[in-house]
Amino acid sequence: MNPAFSLFGIPYLSLLVFFPSVGALGVLAVPKARERMARTVAFVVAALEFLLSIPLFTRFQPVAGMQIEERTPWLTGIGSSYHLGVDGLSMLLVLLTTLLTALSVLSSFSAVTERPRAYYSLLLALETAMIGTFVALDLVVFYIFWEAMLVPMYFLIGVWGGERRIHAAIKFFLYTMAGSVLMLVAILWTYFLHHSATGVYSFDLLDWYRLPVPLGVQTWLFLAFAVAFAIKVPMFPFHTWLPLAHVEAPTAGSVILAGVLLKMGTYGFLRFAIPLFPNAALLWMPLLLGLAVVGIIYGALVAWVQPDVKKLVAYSSVSHLGFVMLGMLALNAEGLSGSLLQMINHGISTGALFLLVGVLYERRHTRLISDYGGIWKVMPAFAVVFLIIMLSSIALPGTNGFVGEFLILLGAFRAHRVFAVIASLGVILSAVYMLFMFQRVMFGPVTHPENDALPDLRLREWAVFVPLLILVFWLGVYPAPFLARVQPSLAESASLIERRALLCRTAEARAGRPLSSLLPATPAAPDTAATRQP
């Protein structure tokens, strides 16, 4: 484990987390008379943040466990500390966040003219919350970032969104929050389980990883966590907020939403829900697998018949995230690697798709597929980029999507063969809905005269897409630098889940009776009592 390092005297992760917020204040400080400057400031901040995050990748040690940890006592009274750290799992997601935020800022240059200062500062504040969510190792800190993230997103959708933006924003907020409040109860519950087992109040995830959770309680705790994360993912049937939010959000909002926010759900499963409550997770595995697979097929089928491009991409997210969940639930190295990689891939490809739709929307102010047609002729470069991104999205070998999807299916095939086979049908269906859409938008003659003179990609738009295209091929052709870095962490995750499942079972067995009395009042199991701290 490499020791925590700091830049400019600030602990590195804290710097990463809070730099965008400071930048947001900077954006707000732009005088009103020159509020168009806000975008430049915001981009500089976001770009700097991305550059700042690069050492995270380069200095990352391919070993298991947390790195670059930071820990400061915070809520000493209740045993919560400001504890940050990254491992392979979060490292990539943080990088994805910084990249997508920078690109989102860039993509909004011409799309957002109204109240730009507020817009960009919210975007940057959102970045803080997202990175915070990924690096927090204390449950309270995690929950704070998790919830705080809703606010800027809510405003981004609600203020700069489409026609039904208000409905969408509120639904997004309420639905996600409704899910996560139950998680808070579960967090508190686990916290007291930890206290009764060890005598120590701690919200620290790493402490909790050593806590045997009674089997009877696990189900409830797991479900509470799982619902919160399943809504965020979103897993079928908790996905209905997503199409609405995606459609109504401004382009950058959709990009962040699809690219990063959804990953919080899958990340949460892998970091919290499954390792903390492994036995319950295993117990409920068939259901989760079923939902993941249903999500894959269902999302694809429903995406197919969408008349609205953004909605189509939104439902495709349901399908893709179903793959991510499937791979994760395989709980083997292949599935987990694929799952993580697919999280990144989905961020790239779906993010890029939303950016592309945004490009179109900016020119035509419609998202209906039927309003397009023959776009290839008008905007050939755009069409090619669209094509490549689409291929990445349908997991064509050679693009990033394939590596992830294949590993997921492989992992799932090893662990849950039937589910994997059904899920593989998604491979066909993803081609179906994407190609139908692509054909109707890109091919054919130009049927709407308004489309005749659409300008092709501009230089700034190229600047947005080139990094994504590079990643599409890099991850597709040479994913080794990524995979190698995350392997130890994922292996650790898998083994942690296994170890903890055993730990919980043996603790229960040794106690000689079920430790399932629900609350901390239960006297600790004898073996854990021995480890009680003074």
Binding site: I78, V181, V185, L188, P520
Partner: protein, 492 residues
Amino acid sequence: MRPALPPLQFIMSSTDAMSLLPVWVLTGVALLALTVDLFSRKRGAMWSAWVSLIGLFATGLAIWQVRGLDRTVFAGMVRVDPFSQFFSAVIVGVTIVSVLFSWDYLKRTEILRGEYYALMLFAALGMIFMAQANDLIMVFLGLELMSLALYVLAGFRLGRMESTEAAMKYFLLGAFASGFLLYGIAFLYGATGSTNLERISGYLIESPLAGSPLVLLGIALALVGFAFKIAAVPFHMWTPDAYEGAPTSVTAFMAAGSKAAAFAALVRVSSMVLAHVPITTASVLEVVAILTLVVGNVVAILQSNLKRMLAYSSIAHAGYALVGVIAGGPDGHAAVLFYMATYAAMTLGAFGTLTLLGRGMDERVDVRELGGVGKRHPILAALFTLFMLGLAGIPPTAGFVGKLYLFRAGVETHHVQLVIVALLASVVSVYYYLRPVVVMYMQEPSGSPVEVSRSGAASVALAISASITLVVGVLPGGLADSALRSVLSLLP
């Protein structure tokens, strides 16, 4: 032969006197505020305001002076301990902020009179008495002092029917509830032979008759009185009407101050009385808490008058705080303290914002009229949003941390169902808290746009509330520690 009367003893040492310094100061200030008003017909009222403000700061200093003291004075009537100091500080803070909000609000609504500030200070005094009360008599007297002042304040805007109506409803129901409280105190007195909380608690601990019907009756009726003051369902029904009709600055003061004081008394009583009754009143309180959470939040959804909406929200918040009371113990009570302090800041800020909406006599508190405020008054809108988010319990505001502490205590003491209800209710609350935000930022003004009054004093007050909401949200440690230290003095 006539037996000799016992001699009258001076029962006060200088330390005792010293420990009551804040009360002395505040009383003096209140009287002074009342008096200075008389000297100038024109500017007297503003002199009262200045006197009140400076006096309140002096009171604050006095509280700082007596910090850490823990003693019972006046033959057990008053307990000056960290607990009461905590609440005193909160109440003084609430009053300062309320005075600041009143500063220009009274002018523009043309109800500027010196008695206003005097009454506010008397009400604050009553609240402090409740927090310090170590005897049911003091609880009753403090409560009445506070209530009487508030009845008048609620009806202070004589020119408006709503204000008078609010005052009348508040008064009738308040007096009604006081009747129950008094009757409850009577039973407790009869059952335990004392009105002194320490003696009651001592008796209950020792006596095998702690669960006797008289005690129960007493507790039940006293609870009704407290439940009324904290606006718990179904004793809440005065709240929306009183809050809506009262001058907005008074509403702010009521919502923050009287709730804090009532919780102060409730926590002290519950830790010294309820805790020692062998039967559980928790189930009753739990039902009340659940009702409060549900009704408060659900009905708030339908309100378009912001004052009324916030009134329901204050009902709901009583429900959250009740979770801490029900949980009990140092953790639960500390959570209540913490929550009251943060809730006060947020709700003051929210109502305070409302004092600025509209110009002159024209108050604009309908949520539907807020369209475009976000664009034209970005700072005000941002602050209001902050308060709304805080009340909704969204991190990183103080509201979240407050709820975290409360629910932590709730889960710790096995009240998981209650906590779940509270959390789900908080999800519902998000809807109505976000509604003004939606309108301010996401909708265009319909009809004539809301004009916003300018007020330096109110700006300062908003800044104070906002910074507390945010700073405590990010660094809650200090407040949490002091809350915990404060409740430790409740332990026998």
